[in-house]
């Protein structure tokens, strides 16, 4: 079963082509990693898939509904944690969850109950009355994740959910996501940390320069390479680049 179907997706910003014709079928119920170096077009792709950015060309379907023609069906079924966009930072953590949940039409009492549980699980209960503007990066990611999960979406899109997050918060986020996918939901997240993707995901898509270079189950993409990192470097053609040969002066011992 396919949770997300992308066909011929294009996006240009002036001269620069950010996404150059992507075709992708993401399976349902999997932990899916979208990996690629900085500037590969991961954020642009996720923004277009979630309806936050209008593609120049192409179609996106989420759980069988077109994102642009049928937003009513799609928006209720997805949760999003974007990268580089603000939250309503002048609300406290609890107020933000209350706002987000009620905006999605959930009954107030249910929102408050879920918010309390999410704040507890994500270790934010102590800071729930603090304004989000005073949160650290890890806390922001966690409150953003809570807001994305509150309405129990079928597909969760997370853009760099572990960027700038300390190991303790990362472990918490991980635990929540693993429990969530175990119940049959789909998580799509982007990252440029291969070790993380390798340890979390069972399905990956490798992106570079606006195109999909490889996709499929983790073992398939990794192939014969010893690690995803190696396989990735082979795919994007960055392997064997020796940065050390020109820096012969660099090393301990010498004064200058």
């Amino acid at each position: 079963m396919t949770s997300v179907r992308v066909r011929n997706l294009w996006k240009r910003f002036g001269q620069q082509v950010a996404v150059a014709g992507i075709d992708l079928d993401l399976p349902a119920g999997k932990f899916i990693g979208l990996v690629g170096p900085n500037g590969a077009g991961k954020t642009t792709t996720l923004s277009m898939v979630t309806g936050l950015l209008r593609p120049d060309e192409g179609t996106v379907e989420v759980v069988g509904h077109d994102v642009w023609r049928d937003p009513v069906e799609v928006k209720a079924r997805i949760g999003v944690l974007p990268e580089g966009l603000r939250l309503f930072e002048r609300l406290s953590g609890r107020e933000l969850l209350g706002y987000s949940g009620r905006l999605r039409g959930l009954p107030g009492a249910e929102v408050d109950k879920r918010a309390t549980q999410l704040l507890d699980v994500l270790d934010l209960a102590g800071a729930q009355h603090k304004l989000v503007v005073d949160y650290s990066t890890g806390m922001r990611k966690k409150i953003g994740l809570a807001a994305a999960l509150l309405h129990n979406p079928e597909v969760l899109f997370l853009d760099e959910p572990f960027e700038g997050v300390d190991p303790v918060s990362a472990q918490t986020i991980r635990g929540v996501l693993e429990r969530y996918t175990a119940s049959g939901a789909t998580v799509v997240f982007s990252s440029h940390v291969m070790e993380l993707v390798e340890s979390l995901c069972d399905w990956v898509a490798v992106m570079a320069a606006g195109r999909i270079r490889a996709h499929g189950p983790l073992e398939e993409v990794r192939g014969s390479a010893p690690s995803l990192q190696e396989a990735f470097l082979q795919l994007v053609g960055a392997q064997g680049r020796d940065a050390g040969s020109d820096l012969d002066w660099l090393g301990g011992g010498a004064v200058r």
Binding site: L52, L87, E89
Partner: protein
């Protein structure tokens, strides 16, 4: 490497760093370059005019009082400026230099030298030259003038640095940045005070300044210029003491600055410390507010909008400005006897402006709204709730201002029509505001004092001024009816009709405007998000 050998090289390096920062900042965008050049030209023109004025003042009986006051005000300005414009000078933030192996003492002098580069110091130099010319009589006085001028400049710069270093914790914290946003208000109020003072001086002469100047001439940095005046009058002892006071102040300031710099550089940055502040107070007060609001999306959106009026510094500053101007213009005009009751509509107009650029006020957090709008109906409820939140404040306030103006003018017969016109205007502002919010959204940068992101100024002008002209046109039927009732025979008896008429008209066009804006909003969500996410 010892501090002594590092010292000679450091000052030029830091000065060059400052020049590079300045140049690179200007290279970023043409708009910024133009703004910088324009402000430099304005500052220098202003300084040149002041210089001419000061030279003209030479020989005036009370020249020294004015000059001493001027230098004192300059000093005050230097002390206050870094608090409001902390981001203006990156070299002003010593925490950026923490990682470099530098000793505090040479660093202090190097940073002081770097502080002398810029429009501000140039402006100060011109003013100080003018001040010296205004009061110096004789060769000895000019010689002291050179020393005093340099001393005064250094005191000003050191003052700015010492204040900034002592408050860097505050400045780099969120509260400090919130404070900076309100600086516009402080400047506006300050301008009023200066205006008031200048009017009084204009009416009763410079002699008024003498008692103030008698105190200020002993305070640095004004005492350095006071010394020039003392030499001109032949009191060399007094001059020496005044110069010493300034010099002492300079040494003291540099020492204070050096101490806080050392402390800053060896203690961890506030932002990396786990905030050990007491748990924020329970915001239970808001629960009462929630109960009064309607349920569903409307209440949720209204609650957030009202919270933002109080908590978001940009929104708060805009509201305070609107509320203040909306009250001041009609009431002051009424007090001065030049008022008309129709000025009361000003309050409705000013507050109606808050409906403009609704989504820009959300910043890029608008994505949270965008993800929950999937039909024109959702967009309609969203916009209507924002308009309702605005009306919660605006309706009582505009009514109050109208009643107050009427009471001051004693023209109770005209209250209904003024109120009716206000309501019609408010409706027109809401309807155009909702429509331009959807059609011409633009970013409001959260940092600093600007309200429009670079490159979107044109958009903001179209949005606000186009909207205001359209609002005036939309009001035309009610205005025409008012005029007709006044000119037609026996019409005066029916002017009370304008109150229900204006209210109904205002409500009607508001609903119509929201209906028109909603489908546009729903269809343009990604474009709106892109427009409000800049800066």
């Amino acid at each position: 490497m010892s501090a002594q050998t590092a010292a000679p090289g450091l000052a030029p390096t830091v000065v060059r760093l400052k020049l590079s920062l300045l140049r690179n900042g200007l290279r970023q965008s043409g708009g910024r370059r133009a703004a910088y050049v324009a402000s430099a030209v304005c500052a220098l023109l202003f300084a040149a005019l002041q210089l001419i004025g000061l030279i003209a003042l030479r020989g005036h009986a009370h020249a020294e009082s004015l000059v001493v006051l001027l230098v004192a005000v300059l000093g005050l300005g230097w002390a206050v400026m870094p608090l409001f414009f902390p981001s203006g000078d990156e070299t002003l933030d010593p925490t950026r230099l923490v990682m470099l192996p530098l000793r505090p003492r040479p660093l202090v002098w190097a940073l002081l030298a770097a502080s002398l580069v810029g429009i501000g110091p140039l402006f100060t130099v011109v003013m100080l030259i003018g001040s010296v010319i205004a009061v110096a009589h004789g060769g000895a006085a000019f010689a002291v003038g050179v020393v005093g001028g340099v001393l005064a400049l250094l005191v000003c710069v050191a003052l700015a640095r010492a204040v900034a270093a002592a408050n860097i914790r505050l400045l780099s914290s969120r509260k400090g940045r919130d404070l900076a946003v309100l600086s516009g208000l402080v400047i506006a109020v300050g301008a009023q005070v200066v205006n008031f003072g200048a009017q009084r001086l204009g009416s009763s002469g410079l002699g008024q300044l003498d008692p103030v100047a008698d105190v200020l001439r002993w305070l640095p940095p004004a005492s350095a210029i006071g010394a020039v005046d003392s030499v001109s009058e032949g009191s060399y002892g007094v001059a020496a003491v005044q110069l010493l006071i300034s010099a002492g102040a300079l040494v003291l300031l540099v020492r204070m600055w050096s101490r806080s710099l050392t402390r800053l550089m060896i203690s961890p940055d506030g932002s990396t410390l786990q905030a050990a502040e007491p748990a924020a107070r329970d915001r239970r007060g808001a629960a009462g507010l929630t109960r009064l609001l309607p349920g569903g999306r409307s209440g949720t959106v209204m609650e957030r909008s009202l919270r933002y009026v109080w908590r978001d510094p940009k929104t708060k500053a805009a509201w305070v400005t609107s509320l203040a101007i909306g009250l001041i213009v009609p009431v002051f005009n009424a007090l001065q006897g030049t008022g008309s009751i129709y000025f009361a509509c000003f309050a409705a107009g000013m507050l109606g402006i808050q409906m403009y650029n609704q989504f820009g006020q959300d910043t890029s957090a608008f994505w949270m709204v965008a993800l929950t709008i999937s039909s024109p109906r959702d967009a309609y409820v969203e916009l209507r709730a924002r308009a309702l939140a605005l009306l919660v404040i605006t309706l009582p306030y505009a009514t109050l201002v109208t009643v107050l103006t009427t009471a001051l003018l004693g023209d109770w017969a005209k209250l209904p029509e003024a109120l009716g016109l206000s309501l019609a205007l408010l409706g027109a502002m809401l309807t155009t505001g909702a429509w331009t919010s959807a059609r011409f959204p633009y970013s409001i940068p959260q940092e600093g004092y600007k309200n429009v992101a670079p490159g979107q100024t044109g958009l903001a002008w179209i949005s606000i001024f186009g909207g205001m002209v359209s609002a005036a046109l939309l009001c035309a039927p009610v205005i025409a009816l008012t005029i007709w009732l006044h000119v037609s025979e026996g019409g005066e008896a029916w002017t009370w009709l304008l109150l229900p008429g204006g209210a109904a008209y205002g409500a009607g066009i508001t609903l119509l405007g929201l209906r028109l804006a909603a489908p546009r909003t729903a269809a343009r969500l990604p474009e709106i998000l892109a427009a409000v996410s800049k800066g």
